[in-house]
Symmetry: C2
Subunit: 226 residues, 2 copies
């Protein structure tokens, strides 16, 4: 059976990094939440000024992107039918796996709370069913784990194509993996691109990650569940 | 030029209704926010118990649905190019219009804050450009305002079809309007269905409103921007 894998790559999610844990606003924010900084997600909408002190800051602190993209992926019949595996790989080399039949929180604050719990506990279960896991690992480690028959990156700097064509192409392979960028600005790092077999652009327009996710999975589903 | 209209109908958004403004939890919640109940959105994720006291409670207090659906619609090239008009019509007969080139907040709390401001001020502008407006009006009033050439409802109880076919059908008309249900459970009211020319089901599966939105607009865009 065809198994499709979706990876949100370089996802802009991480806990407050060491470099800014002493920042006054960060300390106040964590105090108010009653949590240690290493248990709190970095978030542009609350920590904007502190994030500016970080290297590569434009790509960081956007858990809303992973929230939307994972909801997009896990709300599809392709996922309901168990034919879609869903991962996020983060900028700081964490692998988040969403297991089968998971209903993620639709409200952002709840999602953030769940992710914070995941960063602390590494596994989220409910009634002995595993829902989410977090482990350390590079993008390469993740691909070694998935063992896909082909790795397809989606990026505005890729070869011009369409969702339909890319889906058709992917399904010539038994276990294709789609890689979508989980960041607000910029492109996949060169080290990541090297690990992709092909890089396609599916629109003339610059699209948000959740739109790319919705469209490529929909076109794939149309063929798989036809 | 073809003009597409998207309406999220019976959207589960409203301010705290009179019947529960004296509820203890509601009063505490509003006090903490420093707002009057009539300035605060009703929200299942915070007011669940109080909502149970309301009639028709399964359909109420889900601003996350309108948040996702409006983001879905306004993140499409169809909208970027000015060929998509975006409305939400609410359960309590308010019409919310999203003007052209609006970038809605991606973080839920910010979106809620914006909507609360809209309920108080009726118009949200930025640098003299109008972004959002709220007015009173029934679904029929809204249709009279849009004056569409055809009204297409999307619902799991509609005639079986596909997004592709529905998009093609819609584009035989100059100004088609798509109606998507903005509630978590149930179907369009009979009074609403009477105002629709056709009712299509675009999937064998029960889909979230944001997925229906993403898919029908994408198939429409493929034809319009081809």
């Amino acid at each position: 059976m065809t198994r499709i894998t979706y990876v949100l790559e370089e996802s802009a999610i991480e806990v407050i990094p060491r470099e800014i844990r002493d920042d006054k606003m960060i300390r106040q924010f964590c105090l108010k939440r009653g949590k240690h900084p290493e248990e709190v997600l970095l978030d542009q909408s609350y920590h904007h000024k502190a994030i500016l002190k970080l290297a590569n800051n434009e790509m960081r602190g956007r858990p809303d992107i992973i929230h939307f993209c994972l909801l997009e992926a896990t709300s599809t019949p392709l996922y309901f039918k168990g034919q879609l595996d869903v991962y996020a790989h983060t900028l700081d080399d964490k692998i988040i796996k969403v297991e089968k039949n998971v209903r993620l929180p639709r409200v952002y604050e709840r999602f953030v709370g769940l992710m914070e719990k995941l960063y602390v506990e590494k596994i989220i279960s409910y009634k002995e069913k595993r829902l989410l896991t977090l482990s350390k690992g590079s993008f390469e480690d993740l691909l070694n784990k998935i063992r896909p028959s082909t790795v397809i990156g989606l990026s505005s700097i890729g070869k011009e194509s369409s969702n339909e064509k890319v889906a058709k192409y992917a399904l010539r392979f038994e276990n294709p993996v789609f890689i979508v960028g989980g960041f607000a600005k910029g492109h996949f790092g060169a080290d990541k691109r090297k690990l992709m077999d092909t890089l396609f652009s599916i629109s003339r327009y610059s699209l948000n990650a959740h739109i790319v996710t919705a469209r490529i999975l929909y076109e794939t589903e149309k063929i798989v569940l036809a």
